[in-house]
């Protein structure tokens, strides 16, 4: 419990500090102006979401291999957390896009693949509600989760492989891309803060799943 509170407090301090840095330390971008400050929240959330889906993928693979409940709990916990982060990405993206592009949304490769990613993990969670038998639920959702993860590299690569309305990458974007040093430092600090916050949420969600399993065991004992 003390470790969870410490992790929560550290996550809270880091996200407050990263919000402060995004507004007061990062310099103003020349072309877009103040609206570009959404970048530090939007992109850091996207990266944390990708990491959560990667953890889900690893949990799914381990479940298929070892058939231990803890990997299923890890899979569902990180899928739900990844979905929360992707929801934030899909909300903050259009808020940023509207003043810059003049439109809220366009069906380009990056935006469409991100929306498909969101739909895939909503389906993953819905699938789990449709199957009663725990082992079957865990196996089928793990197999679906492994399939769903295929979209993550597609989202990552969309702005690198195809011409999109979404801006080209400024990190790992090859020649001609990059960020001003202070912007880069603030960005990576925001990424770290969001990853600590994501870890905190996964731990909390994992404990929920573990408690659910405890209820199931006790339920069987009561009924016996």
């Amino acid at each position: 419990m003390a470790k969870r509170i410490t992790l929560g407090a550290v996550a809270l301090l880091l996200v407050i500090a990263s919000a402060y840095a995004s507004f007061y330390i990062a310099p103003q971008e020349r072309t877009m102006g103040v609206i570009q400050r959404i970048f530090y929240f939007h992109v850091a959330s996207a990266w944390a979401g990708f990491t959560a889906f990667l953890i889900c993928f690893i949990g799914n693979l381990l479940y298929v291999w070892k058939r231990a409940d803890k990997y299923d709990w890890l899979g569902v916990s990180s899928a739900e957390v990844g979905l929360a982060f992707t929801t934030v990405v899909l909300i903050t993206g259009p808020i940023w896009a509207h003043p810059v592009w003049g439109i809220w949304w366009t069906w380009d490769a990056r935006l469409t693949s991100t929306f498909v990613l969101w739909l895939l993990y909503v389906s993953y969670l819905l699938l789990r509600t449709l199957i009663e038998e725990p082992d079957r639920r865990a196996l089928l959702s793990s197999l679906f989760g492994i399939f769903a993860f295929i979209d993550v590299p597609l989202v990552f690569g969309a702005i690198r492989w195809w011409r999109t309305q979404h801006p080209s990458p400024v990190i790992m974007g090859g020649q001609g891309s990059g960020l001003e040093p202070t912007m880069k430092a603030v960005f990576f600090f925001s990424v770290i803060a969001m990853h600590v916050f994501m870890t905190f949420l996964i731990v909390e969600r994992y404990i929920l799943e573990k408690t659910k399993a405890e209820v199931d065991i006790l339920q069987r004992e009561v009924e016996a």
Partner: protein
């Protein structure tokens, strides 16, 4: 400053989503913990 309201909207809505998500996790966990305690009490009275 132009578009500052959009920046605040993005941060407030985004953190609102995270906050609601955390509250639902905390609420569901608290309900399940109460259920565990209830069942344990029921089992101990049966023994």
């Amino acid at each position: 400053m132009k578009n500052l309201d959009s920046v605040f909207a993005a941060y407030i809505i985004g953190w609102g989503v995270f906050f609601l998500f955390y509250v639902t996790i905390a609420k569901r966990t608290a309900d399940l913990r109460a259920e565990v305690e209830r069942m344990k009490a029921r089992l101990s009275t049966h023994e």
